[in-house]
């Protein structure tokens, strides 16, 4: 809270590193004296100001300010648009760093106008170095509030639903793995290409992607088919039947081209261990591999409405997606010791009848056993284990020395 009522010169010029701690007045023209209310900021009259709204949001709820005296206070005013505002947001541990953070974001975002592709590209490169989220199947825009440079979002739930769906339809694990691998690699290629010179077109047009070489456009085509199979709106590809899309992906050329884009990387299908280095996100590569281990089909448990309470835990386990029908459930349980990462939740039921699914489930479990070792292998090559994937058994001998 400002002690003196003088205006802060830094703030008037644009930014003050002391933020709310500053002993001078941080105001804009709008609310010259509202700071008088003090640190706690009564929302009283200020709250009323906020209620005005072009089409009347909130007009009827003036009671919102009940009991929340801090609500609606104004330190927000000291920040200009596009400035990074989180200076104060982690007060205890980070009190030393606010000015550094502010400058970092100011250089990037404050004055960026997309007039120069080179500056756009610089922002993109910086973003990818500093702010690569763990989830890769995402759209991206280098400028806030501007359209995406990379489109084609896939959310966690969509990927999971597609995986559950595929397994239920009886798609082989290999094709599921291939599909997801291609998804990831084509998306990574898009990101790579965005970093290249001449790659960023400062506009909202999709043709961003088109000037690229055949590599990415082919990757796009596979992605597009995948996208259609996931019911996504990717760039201008006609929807392809679900199975066809997957079948083609297994042997599609883009995977070859992608390896060249990445240089010396081997093809993922050849060596499980190589995949780890293939993808930028190591953790994600295992995603593809260990799906091999997945081999279960859920049987449809009866759609009942249990009003009297939940069934016992034992029963719940049985109807657990990962233990399909009773017979294959037992079968799978015996294989548990061999492969900790046993199955995905594949409890989707297609219209196929249960017996067929059971048979397939058992068969796949058999296949799974054989593939267990190859799938497991990847875990041991990994440098860092994330929570939830620590294997339960000792490494195969092949890895004892290597790791």
């Amino acid at each position: 809270m400002p002690i003196k009522k003088e205006l802060c010169k830094n703030y008037q010029r644009g930014s003050c590193q002391y933020g709310q701690r500053c002993k001078f007045l941080h105001v804009t023209q709008q609310q010259p004296k509202s700071n008088i209310f003090g640190g706690g900021a009564q929302s009283g009259s200020y709250g009323q100001q906020q209620k005005s709204n072009p089409y009347g949001f909130g007009v009827q709820n003036s009671s919102q300010s009940k009991g929340s005296t801090d609500y609606g206070s104004k330190p927000n005013n000291q920040f200009k648009p596009f400035e990074n505002k989180w200076t104060r947001f982690s007060p205890i541990p980070n009190t030393g760093a606010p000015s550094a953070r502010q400058s970092e974001n100011q250089t990037q975002a404050t004055n960026h106008k997309c007039t120069d592709p080179e500056s756009c590209r610089r922002i993109v490169v910086e973003d990818f170095e500093n702010e690569r989220p763990l989830w890769k199947l995402t759209c991206y825009g280098h400028l806030k509030n501007a359209p995406c440079d990379i489109i084609g979002d896939i959310s966690y739930e969509e990927l999971r639903a597609a995986a559950y769906d595929d397994a239920k339809r009886g798609l082989s694990l290999q094709s599921i793995v291939e599909r997801e691998r291609n998804l990831l690699s084509s998306k990574l290629v898009e990101f790579e290409n965005l970093c290249k010179p001449h790659a960023v077109a400062p506009s909202s047009t999709l043709p961003n992607q088109k000037p690229f070489s055949g590599t990415s456009s082919n990757a796009f085509s596979s992605f597009g088919q995948l996208g259609s199979s996931l019911n996504m709106g990717s760039v201008s590809r006609p929807p392809a039947p679900l199975n066809n899309g997957f079948g083609q992906l297994n042997s599609s050329a883009p995977s070859r081209q992608i390896s060249s884009a990445f240089g010396t990387k081997n093809m993922p299908s050849e060596n499980a261990g190589e995949i780890l280095r293939f993808c930028l996100c190591g953790a994600f590569s295992l995603f593809l591999l260990t799906v091999i281990l997945v081999g279960l089909f859920g049987s449809q448990f009866p759609a009942s409405s249990t009003i009297t309470g939940f069934s016992s835990n034992g029963a719940l386990r049985e109807s657990n997606p990962f233990s399909p029908s009773p017979s294959s459930a037992q079968f799978l349980r015996t294989t548990n010791n061999q492969s900790p990462i046993l199955s995905m939740g594949l409890d989707y039921t297609s219209n196929a009848n249960a017996p067929a699914q059971v048979a397939m489930g058992v068969q796949l479990a058999t296949n799974m056993q054989k593939e267990d070792i190859s799938g497991d292998v990847s875990i041991w090559s990994k440098n860092k284990w994330n929570p939830g994937e620590v294997p339960e058994e000792a490494p195969p001998d092949a890895f004892v020395d290597a790791v």
Partner: protein
């Protein structure tokens, strides 16, 4: 708490929250509390919608499973009717069901889409259910009629939805955010591109409907005001990051009384924030698995959150044989959720 006897690193409950009895057997996709009583509903990837009664006496909290229904496919979203008698749930079976659970009734299908229903909400002022789906539409349903009252085309697949009458904000794929004035639901009030650079994960409307929060996969939350004259109050902040690892913000919930908010992320942590003083009020300890969803109860005295795998690292990290799915209840202390004056008001330069 590693009951399966392995060295699974990390404590799933480092905050000593109360564990809900008989949690779902697969990941939880949504949590919602009844607006009238302490009934908690959880939807799950195991196709079930479950309801618990939460009893509280002082600091002792107990949960009793009450009832459950099944869908044919994983269930993604849930909402209570405002009278606290009925639960709506929707998911990958492309349908939404209405379940009058307090009266012991059977569920009824009330909505259909061409693709999984990702979000739904009950709008008491209009007596309509709104559903948002990956088929890029949003539909309004009068539960007594089989056909949608209105279909609204969205710019892309619906990823997130929040309603505070008359404000409704829909977050879609490719960073579009569409704002609706529910007094005129057939017209988009505003369509903006997200202030964040990556995929939108969740949105939450301010209790006073002046704006909304948007969370993304890049460990960032944007605070956005609708009114152009308040644009200077917009800002974004980083959260749910650990060194160079950037986790997504999966859930945003406003406290019903104090109007502070909580974020929950794929790093397994949840935090309480005050957007007006721009402070983090409380950082809770990280759980060993991500938190895909969370909810406050009607008076903010209970914060429920689920600790289970959210697919943030693909199928490889999904180990159903040993996967544990938890729902925890945290009793927020006043210091954690009550807004505070700005830090360092007595500090000197």
């Amino acid at each position: 708490m590693s009951t399966f006897g392995t060295a699974t690193p990390g404590n799933p409950n480092p905050n000593n929250s109360i564990e809900v009895a008989q949690p779902p057997s697969d990941s939880v996709s949504s949590l919602s509390f009844s607006p009238k009583a302490n009934y908690l509903v959880a939807t799950s990837w195991d196709n079930q919608v479950r309801c618990w009664e939460i009893m509280r006496s002082g600091n002792a909290v107990g949960s009793t499973p009450k009832a459950s229904i099944s869908h044919d496919h994983p269930v993604l979203c849930s909402a209570w009717k405002d009278d606290g008698t009925t639960v709506f749930s929707g998911g990958c079976d492309k349908q939404a069901k209405m379940w009058p659970l307090l009266s012991g009734g059977q569920p009824m299908t009330v909505a259909m889409h061409d693709a999984p229903i990702k979000e739904l909400a009950w709008i008491p002022e209009m007596n309509l259910l709104v559903t948002g789906s990956w088929d890029k539409t949003m539909k309004y349903w009068d539960t007594r009629q089989p056909n949608a009252v209105h279909t609204q085309v969205l710019p892309d697949r619906c990823y997130a939805l929040t309603v505070r009458y008359p404000l409704m904000v829909v977050g879609t794929a490719d960073r579009s955010l569409v704002v609706f004035n529910l007094q005129n639901p057939q017209t988009e009030f505003k369509r903006i591109t997200s202030p964040l650079k990556y995929q939108t994960r969740c949105v939450a409307a301010f209790p006073d409907q002046q704006g909304f929060l948007v969370g993304s996969i890049e460990g960032r939350v944007g605070v956005h005001h609708l009114d152009d004259s308040q644009q200077s109050k917009n800002f974004t902040f980083k959260c749910h990051r650990d060194g160079t690892e950037i986790y997504s913000v999966n859930s945003l919930n406003f406290h019903p009384v104090h109007h502070t908010f909580a974020t929950a992320g794929s790093d397994g942590a949840f935090n309480f924030w005050d957007k007006d003083s721009k402070q983090r009020l409380k950082a809770m300890s990280r759980c060993s698995q991500p938190i895909p969803c969370s909810a406050f109860n009607n008076d903010g005295s209970i914060f429920a959150y689920s600790v289970c795998y959210d697919w943030s690292k693909g199928a490889e990290n999904h180990n159903p044989a040993s996967a544990k799915n938890y729902i925890f209840l945290h009793l927020p202390q006043e210091s954690e959720v009550k807004g505070k004056p700005r830090v360092g008001t007595s500090g000197r330069k």
